[in-house]
Symmetry: C2
Subunit: 349 residues, 2 copies
């Protein structure tokens, strides 16, 4: 039995979407148990033998500052859901709430894995090969050192090996050219560090990749700092929306184009399905001593269920242990060169 | 009469594309004169009363390192084209060659405008409003200070006012959230500086924007460092290619979908035209004491002609003088706060 703690109050739509997704998820996963965390009144219509309501009196709003989530709303559904993971009642938590608050609460309650300075957000983007490219970090860390980028590469490799069953996934370092001499000082140093990690068997490093390689699917994983990753993700969302809007406009221009749209509906629908972001919903918060997955705030039932699926697969495939094992193996490289690896684990914990 | 110097040898296709574009350009611009720069043998078939061949014995290859372009190939078509601008024989130069080499040569030969530390590359991207969002920098500068970002904002405003005839174009600062507290240290300081510039009438600063705002068309101009801008541009190219590829695949899946494609051809073609990058070809190298435009290396005839159009419009609308005037007006802000503005202009030239 694998148990997920679900923040049922998070996201733009709250329980209406999250509960519908939970019901469908339970029907298709016979070994799953859910802890439905939220304001009891909002959840009272839901009954399932493998679901238990866990009460929480408060809700973190989508625009609440991190401080409010951390210090004021101490009985929020988001916090209580993460607490379930910390207490060992659930193997993973899922929330569609405010990303900043979720990361801050997860970090505060769960703490980071030894050897990791900063957790990262990893998200799969569809690629032209029909698979997904996992990109991290997507916004948790704005100023990253080369050490952080190496940590992201190691954690991303653990994630892809757990969820996509690729033993040695390829890692690309996001840069503005393929040549080693390209990029900022941090990126050049990160390139050296990633090459060392490849030599010591910690990574399958491909080399530098450029923005277009994300959607080409050149590597399984693309590593970048959170500022760059967030801009790349949101720029892509904006472009996809614009293209979708243009296509819709062209097909609804007049009565003839509308008839044409009906005629080619199966084709357009198959196309739409291939670029449907909902199939890729569910970002992993990596580097914490517990599994937390973040759904897009605007997720509908299909998308939220996909985030539940990913959290469930991650828990079943021991993502946490894989991250810890890979980080432990890469420890000699993760310590800064002029800083000896401490023998006493408590020092860095 | 406005004269452009054209590097006819640059780009993936060389004279076959550039000369065809030049002929078409001359036919539609009766006041234009072209200096066709290149290896004379390659250009000998071209005759036009308003075109003059300027010989150059060498060609900068697309993969030549900057050093080769600067120090070894001293008689390259790219260099000779820029030299025409320096010598006053042409009002702007256009090349589809290697971006790094073009920027380095332009900077070496033309020097930067007073008050500008680093030139930037500005590129228009189509937006959902039917216009274009001008993004800079797109790769010339990987590590930028807040001062550089302010310089980009001022130069971008001059470009958009010259080419799009908007007197006070809006400027957005690319960030990972709209709130002033978001982003890296440099971005937060840049936000303060841009707000000061808005207060002193140097800019029409909108505030922070996110990646999706580029294609939404929230502001006329989006300012970012060259690393982020390059990643955003290339990620968009990758996504557009993937979506285009999927659409093509769906319509060529079998005989029925192929017939459907023919039936809806006018609709697909109108759609394609709206997202056609060729309509937006022609990046401006801003901040130099002369106008230089960069065409995409893979540009075809239509795209290269569009780059010629943009260079021509920029020259006719006094882009150079506009940049200089705006920079001069913003000088008090462009000097670092703890560094007094020198009285002697030669010091900073």
């Amino acid at each position: 039995m694998t148990t997920l703690a679900v923040d049922c109050m998070g996201g733009d739509h709250g329980p209406r979407v999250t509960l519908a997704a939970c019901r469908h998820f339970l029907e298709s996963h016979e070994q799953a148990h859910l802890l439905l965390v939220g304001v009891p009144d909002s959840l009272k219509g839901f009954h399932h033998p493998r679901a238990t309501v866990v009460g929480a009196s408060e809700v973190v709003a989508m625009d609440d500052p991190v401080e409010v989530a951390l210090r004021r709303k101490k009985d929020s559904s988001m916090r209580v859901a993460i607490q379930q993971v910390k207490d060992g009642n659930a193997q993973a938590a899922v929330s569609a709430g405010n990303t900043g608050a979720l990361m801050a609460l997860a970090r505060y309650l769960l703490k980071t894995v030894e050897g990791i300075d900063r957790p990262a957000i990893a998200y799969p983007l569809p690629n032209a090969k029909g698979g997904a490219t996992t990109v991290l970090d997507l916004g948790a860390n704005v100023d990253c050192s080369e050490q952080h980028l190496l940590q992201f590469a190691v954690m991303g490799s653990a994630l892809v090996s757990a969820l996509n069953h690729v033993e040695a996934p390829t890692v690309g370092l996001l840069n503005i050219g393929e040549e080693q001499i390209k990029g900022s000082e941090v990126i050049k140093k990160a390139g050296e560090l990633l090459r060392s990690a490849a030599n010591s068997g910690d990574l399958n490093f491909y080399g530098n990749v450029e923005g277009n390689d994300i959607f080409k699917g050149t590597t399984d994983i693309v590593v970048c700092d959170g500022f760059v990753g967030n801009v790349a993700l949101k720029t892509s969302e904006g472009l996809a929306q614009m293209i979708g809007g243009f296509l819709k406009e062209e097909f609804s221009r007049n009565i003839f184009t509308k008839i044409a749209a009906i005629a080619v509906y199966p084709i357009l629908s198959s196309f739409k399905n291939r670029v449907d972001y909902r199939r890729y919903n569910g970002a992993a918060l990596l580097g914490l001593r517990g599994l937390v997955f973040k759904s897009h705030g605007s997720a509908d039932e299909v998308a939220f269920e996909q985030a539940l699926n990913r959290a469930y697969d991650a828990a079943r495939n021991n993502l946490l242990e894989r991250v810890q094992a890979r980080i432990a193996h890469a420890r000699p490289l993760l310590a800064a060169p002029d800083e000896p690896v401490p023998n006493n684990d408590a020092v860095t914990a």
